[in-house]
């Protein structure tokens, strides 16, 4: 009987210590990581549409996006949101900046775990430039009849990013098309 208890106890102690340590360090580091991630998000948003103030908003389908306004004239100059989809080996989150006519100003992949050297090349600006100036209709990989040339050896990653952006742009367009008055209302109270 002692043999079972001894084995169970040793494994319990070691796992408990490990879990305790992990939780303790997680407790310390989690807030820092969250706060740093938020700061990073704001920075990337500024980078996408420079010189704009952002107002948070939410589409009917639950996608939260930001309306970029010119600080002086309060006039809408664009939108930004985060599109996410499963790529080759995990979820890829891309932040997208659109102008008023829903043409892509710029994109930035903020979170991905694709294979280094192949899929992971989507974080380079060379890849982001491919998307600039495209409207949602052209947003397809060249193999599927669109304008985006698939990255060498990483078609799945390219297709995942492109489709994720396309879906969100269409969702945003529909939301803003049938809820123009919501746009006006939200801009006062948040400022």
């Amino acid at each position: 009987m002692m043999y079972y208890v001894k084995l169970g106890a040793i494994l319990l102690i070691i796992c408990a210590i490990a879990a305790g340590l992990l939780a303790y360090i997680n407790g310390l580091t989690e807030p820092i990581i969250k706060e740093r991630k938020a700061k990073e998000e704001i920075q990337t948003r500024e980078a996408l549409i420079p010189g704009a103030t952002f107002i948070a908003d939410k589409t009917a389908s639950g996608l939260d996006f930001f309306i970029a306004q010119d600080p002086q004239t309060n006039e809408v100059i664009g939108y930004t949101f985060i599109a996410a989809k499963n790529g080759y080996s995990g979820e890829i989150q891309t932040m997208v900046g659109l102008d008023k006519e829903f043409k892509i100003l710029n994109i930035k992949v903020i979170n991905q775990s694709e294979t280094p050297g192949l899929g992971a090349n989507c974080t380079l600006e060379g890849f982001a430039k491919l998307f600039v100036g495209l409207s949602d209709t052209e947003l397809l990989v060249d193999k599927d009849g669109g304008k985006i040339p698939a990255m060498a050896g990483a078609t799945i990653t390219t297709r995942a990013i492109t489709n994720s952006i396309k879906e969100q742009v269409i969702a945003l367009k529909n939301h803003l098309a049938n809820a123009p008055q919501a746009l006006a209302k939200s801009s006062e109270e948040v400022n």
Partner: protein, 203 residues
């Protein structure tokens, strides 16, 4: 397409299209290490199928009934690895008792199933995978177990193919310095290229 169709799609994907060894390139250490002889390869294959199936099952239970409700997602890796390690230790005892010869020929590669990327890979991918037929539905318990099983079968199919070829390679005329592992690696490279053929399939 009904559930049978879903299983068929999952099987084909796991064995051919997204084969864990030759498409995702996970689980290569035992793949190269054990594929010298057919019988030890078969033994390893069975052990990996057993561990992968049970690991997927345990991983699903832990993820959905322990980690998610308590919001402890950062413990995912350690809890999955702990279950896999316990499973491998269990398999090691079973093999040592019932098949000592196989236990000898597997050697260090049996404990290495624990760090076998394929086993942990399938456990983690199951938590993020969506059904092929309608992507909105996430994997339920049965899907995860089946996917684990088929991934194990995929691993074994490729391992046996490799072991079969490498056994014949022993008698081929190979320059002295190429014998053994180097020729095995080049063979694995060519098989990987062949498996790229499956990559583009859409079922």
């Amino acid at each position: 397409m009904g559930y049978i169709g879903e299983i068929f799609v999952m099987a084909m994907t796991a064995i051919f299209i997204q084969n864990f060894v030759l498409a995702r390139f996970l689980g290569l250490c035992p793949y190269l290490g054990v594929s010298k002889k057919l019988d030890s390869a078969f033994g390893m294959g069975m052990a990996v199928i057993f561990v992968m199936t049970l690991a997927s099952a345990f991983a699903y239970l832990i993820q959905n009934y322990l980690l998610k409700p308590l919001g402890l997602d950062y413990l995912q890796t350690i809890s999955f690895i702990l279950t896999i390690a316990a499973l491998v230790q269990f398999v090691e005892m079973v093999i040592q008792k019932n098949a000592p010869a196989l236990y000898k020929s597997l050697g260090v590669y049996l404990p290495l199933i624990t760090t076998n990327c394929a086993v942990l890979g399938v456990a983690i991918l199951n938590t993020k995978a969506y059904r092929a037929t309608d992507p909105t539905l996430a994997y339920n318990f049965l899907d995860s177990v089946l996917n684990g099983f088929f991934s194990g079968v995929g691993f074994t199919v490729v391992l046996l193919a490799m072991a079969g070829i490498r056994e014949r390679l022993e008698f081929a005329e190979i320059p002295k310095s190429m014998k053994g592992m180097p020729i095995g690696l080049i063979l694995a490279g060519i098989m990987a290229l062949a498996f790229y053929g499956f990559m583009g399939f859409k079922i």
